[in-house]
Subunit: 420 residues, 4 copies
């Protein structure tokens, strides 16, 4: 058992997907992790951590905000916060895991020892990021922890953060679904919970990207009677149909209530969820640059939901938007039709998902054959070196969920030709 | 529109299933309802009521406690609290319904105007029963309201109590499932909610009678990963398998934790639900007559549930048990292995279900083809005059759910020969 | 007992406070109520109603929005939705009240028979207002029900809506506190509940008007450790000190986090509550006319609350603002610093309060001497004819809560000279 | 900074209160703690722990069950699970605390890394006790961790378990209230929360011992309108009056509903809490030895609570009771009047309190002068060597809460004469 605070592999090499400016990522050599690293300008004793070798490492819609230059991310940042992997080394104070274990790595980095973690708000850990509460691997403003679109990564506070996969053989056969557990499936599920989805209710989901689809599937897990998914992209809507959803092709000018009346027979839904955020994939998304444009999805969910209804906002609304047009929009200000929401008495929940609260429950559903959505998401497994092309395709709104497999451990690698 | 406080049909005849002593019911002439009736010894102004003509009227497991003489029910009581019907007359202060509407009649009678009703505790309405909070149609101690295993019945406070069925044609095609909405489906669902069933959890359900099966199906609606149903009767367990459950054939001597380990791979479940109560159908049930015997199902659910788990008890525990053996057992005292529950920190919820809280949501699921369990319940539609035989068969533990159709409105009447 | 659908008093006179254009109200003759009235253009059978003679009838901060012309209220509207009174007549279908009973009249008008009322959302009743869900006495867009700043008023669905006062003698001695129960005390309390105030937490309350003070007192009822009240008006802040609050004198340019750091020793609070809304009393309030100005209080509560904190918005945000400056602001659009809230993962609850959910519990606290805030609110009892002056004073930000006593039933009438 | 896994003080001496058989404890020499100890027969790497020097260490009512021989506790066990102390050494993986910090030590031992701890069920930690989930210092069946009625003690998983006291000077001035935070105040508070106490409700509290009084005070913190405390001991009831409670002197034959009617004006309360358990202090308690006697408090809370009400059971119900009379009672079986609870639809919560969930919130209330109950509890600070006498007095039902101060750090030591 390796329990020193020096990792054995300090001579070992490592490679990862790095940010190189708007619309550019490159796979480069990066440092191999250690249990005594400088993170966010601060030397950290990481004997509670493990080193993980990713089996699958997803490209997330939220990575695209950084990729397209809509955030102040630093050049050289290693991306990647959706990792399922194998433990290859462990620190002295790791009790619950062994080398060789397969684990899900929730995207939030959390210490398990601060007031927020103890209250189950792992998305706002007070110890892992000096800029603001909350840390994540490979993400702007989230503490400078290296990402996992790489050959190796460090996971601190491993006993608290990691979720063990009980059976490797079964895991391998369901790896495409398990690959959704570090982020987008819990994020979609949490959004459904926060929007108070429960048996017999109707739901409006804005956005048929990967999070929107995970959310729609989660609504049915929670017992929804009808789920209506809205998106401008017909290819994405086809994906939603595979999950049993009703669909609406909409854009920023659509009358949401008329469309709902037509599709659902009622102009409002019990719950409404914004899986889009301030910017979205595809042509129109990249043009949303004023306070009015950036709030389009938000104002539409407020219109969709019924009086006394509940709204959740997993879609990202970030403060610093260098490519926005006006001073207000650059700071993140939105023009919001607030009285619509106030008058209806709408409840709103928002922000990042505390993955840990849901991850093992969703794993149970996958392992017991009660939830499988990778196919509907059009999951594609790619080698590390295909990352650059994948970022570009996904940015254009392609209806695909990309998973990087840096070591060919899934046996599912799509050749670059097929992936196109 | 009929709005006087005299119903038009005072000359009209009516017939219903009446209690005539232990193990005996008979179909007899009974009074036709009016809006100015004496109920529980008290003259009541019922201008808020309607008269309903039952389409289907179920025989409930809880009717069997009365039938077998385990309660102090009065001779002549008209049984029946599971009615879906058509409105044939309405009082002056009924605003939301019209004659001809098809409605679900929740078994609880509730005024909608007392503190408990306003708090959504319709199972404990303070105005409809002078003996204790809570009323029901055709049930001992519940206010002497005539039951609905009859040609006609009165429903007071109709605007509050009734749930409208939006589409008669669709309703007719799904009538066997809708027939479960006045009681056992919401009762099973409520029990699952109270036992904190949520996505990814495992559940132990004691009892594969109609309520147990409704509960098991509801657990899946709420996202359970695994539901284990336990019963001594293999025919009933076959029904549970149709719903996707794991099953355990157990009796009062079974080691529940060993059985769970074998079936589920874990000796405890997250949630455990007692759908049996103090007495149960079949040979053994009728013999449960001491404080120790009457608590068998209860003690088993306490053993089944995990530390920090949740238990609910939809199964009936009544105070007056004339056929029990000891003085304590006659009063309803149970011998309970309490430290098992205390030590685990188990939460317990119990008692009758407030049907109104769930009924329209479950109707949505049925109408949208997301829930259908009538087939698994082995539902049989019978004429009013077959009631006596049905009570007898069900009392012996037959794996059937009987629905009386007094006017042949379903078109599904089973001839008495087939029903045997 | 009067039970016909004609009220006895059709010859009887009635007088009330009526809107006559921006900054003008007048006391005029108005119709005496009946159980068969036209409300909102619709003839209504109101045999479930009672006629109430107000003992006290408050002037609310939300009345001031109408008074100042910031809403599309119709000329002639009788104002008043904060009534405690005596029942003088009752309809045929009223079971729980007798003539002579003293009752609290929650400001929401609710039928108790629709889906929203059954779910405890009485602020969004589906039956009492054809324009949108939710009704109120004497308020724009809320169904055209005559208000209670009058000698007599009708209360429909009396069994559901009214809260009985058990003891008139005790009630008379605590009438100034009881007078807060139809609206502002439950509104403040509900806001505290919705902002998840619980024992040991810290709270930021924006606005030291009557609702702000009721909310601050409610925070302590719920166990808050520290409550910081912010307002530009020092006279109002003195009122907050009487309740045991910390105070901050702030305006739209204040750095809320710095001020909190100074007063509380921490830059954030666990909970934050906007008791101001889009417009506020006093000089500055009347000038808030752009999308940026109208969102000042809202953006400040988002800054005040901690990461993972909870916000509630009892302050009114209305859609139609005829006096606003820009087209967007006239429609109610606000310029909101959304990323501050999103990044913190703030939960938001808002809209009108369902008074019925809290009213009898708060009455218990008042009757048991555990809550008394009328003195801190600087309550003044005035005759009906003093209403015009009171509206004017309150509009300027005077730190007073006015209660109209149309029949001198309190014995507390302040002469007009004193009230000035 | 001491960070080796050997504690510096291995030559250092230590003394503690040890169990020596029914009704006998003795202060004896015990081992000084280390970061590499055998606990419960298992060698443990405790680099996440600290060594604490108790400032105050309470004697708990639950210690008395062991003291009186009603449990299978081992001879030699060091008692004590109510410690506030100073950190004197820390392990290598302790990040949030420094030597010299004053800390509250919640009585539950929890790892912060298992599924139960992550779900906030620290009372059922899965890693610190091989017998069953849940650990505690110095308690039978709870993992064999040495207790804190001693000069020094080890606290494992310190970052997770401990609550820091921000200001030592202020802490010293409020030390008698802070001394209640490791167990009985959170236990009483948690019981109130679990019994759904909320503003305006009425509560029945069975037992006016220290936990009962902490619970009663907590009910008011949560906004209760009336709290009725019941006990056979008038001296204890006087203590309850100091907290503003109503009181009822009752015994096992009392008609609880009649008494409530007399004291409260209503025969039921909204909430009811059993702060007694299977055995209680005083003469009668020691005689409760059959299944019927051991359930007296439980059956009385079921009678006290209203239909739809909520019950919680912080009072201890243990399985192994060597001094009970019947085989069933020895195993912990109780004779329970279950139909009373079932018929009322009572919800029940029970078991040990997860102190960590409440501790820092209650500390805020104490530090902000919003909660002070030490005086009402009749707290007495005693030297370590007075422990034996204190156990004896408390066992007889004396209305005192004893706090051991082993190092005279409080400056409040009562001489043995005064303490008598």
């Amino acid at each position: 058992m390796e329990t020193s605070n020096k990792s054995k592999g300090q001579q070992q090499r490592n490679r990862g997907v790095t940010y190189q400016g708007p619309n550019t990522v490159q796979v480069k050599d990066i440092p191999y992790p250690s249990f005594d690293m400088t993170i966010g300008g601060k030397r950290r004793n990481l004997i509670h951590g493990v080193i993980v070798k990713p089996i699958v490492s997803g490209i997330c819609g939220s990575d695209e905000h950084m990729y397209r230059g809509r955030t102040p991310v630093k050049t050289g940042t290693v991306f990647g916060h959706e990792v399922v992997g194998e433990i290859v080394e462990k620190g002295m104070d790791v009790e619950n895991f062994e080398i060789g274990d397969w684990v899900i790595v929730p995207f939030n980095i959390a210490c398990g020892r601060c007031d927020n973690c103890k209250q189950k708000f792992t998305q706002c850990c007070l110890k892992v990021n000096d800029l603001q509460p909350g840390g994540a691997y490979g993400y702007v403003m989230m503490g400078d922890w290296p990402g996992g679109q790489a050959e190796f990564m460090l996971v601190p506070y491993a006993d608290f953060n990691l979720v063990k996969i009980p059976d490797k053989t079964m895991a391998k056969s369901k790896i495409l679904d398990i690959a959704l557990l570090p982020d987008i499936l819990p994020t979609g599920f949490d959004a459904a919970v926060r929007a108070k989805v429960s048996p017999g209710k109707t739901v409006y989901v804005a956005g048929a990207g990967p999070v929107g689809l995970c959310c729609a599937a989660s609504c049915f897990v929670l017992g929804a009677a009808r789920v209506v998914v809205a998106d401008p992209n017909p290819a994405r809507l086809e994906r939603a149909k595979l999950l049993g959803c009703d669909v609406m092709q909409v854009d920023e000018r659509s009358n949401i209530n008329q469309e709902l009346k037509r599709v659902l027979g009622a102009e409002f839904t019990d719950c409404a969820i914004d899986c889009v955020g301030y910017e979205c994939c595809g042509e129109h998304g990249m043009k949303r640059k004023t306070s009015a444009e950036k709030s389009e999805a938000l104002n539409q969910v407020f219109r969709a939901v019924k009086y006394t209804g509940a709204v959740s906002l997993p879609g990202v609304y970030m403060a610093n938007d260098p490519l926005a047009e006006t001073a207000e929009a650059k700071e993140g200000f939105l023009l919001v039709n607030w009285p619509v929401a106030w008058n209806k008495g709408v409840s709103i929940e928002q922000g990042q998902c505390p993955v840990l609260n849901h991850c093992s429950f969703l794993l149970n559903l996958i392992l017991n054959d009660r939830l499988s959505i990778a196919k509907a998401l059009n999951t594609k497994v790619i080698p590390l070196d295909y990352a650059q092309q994948a970022y570009q395709s996904f940015s254009k709104g392609e209806a695909v969920k990309y998973l990087i497999d840096p070591h060919n451990m899934t046996g599912l690698l799509t050749t670059s030709t097929e992936a196109k």
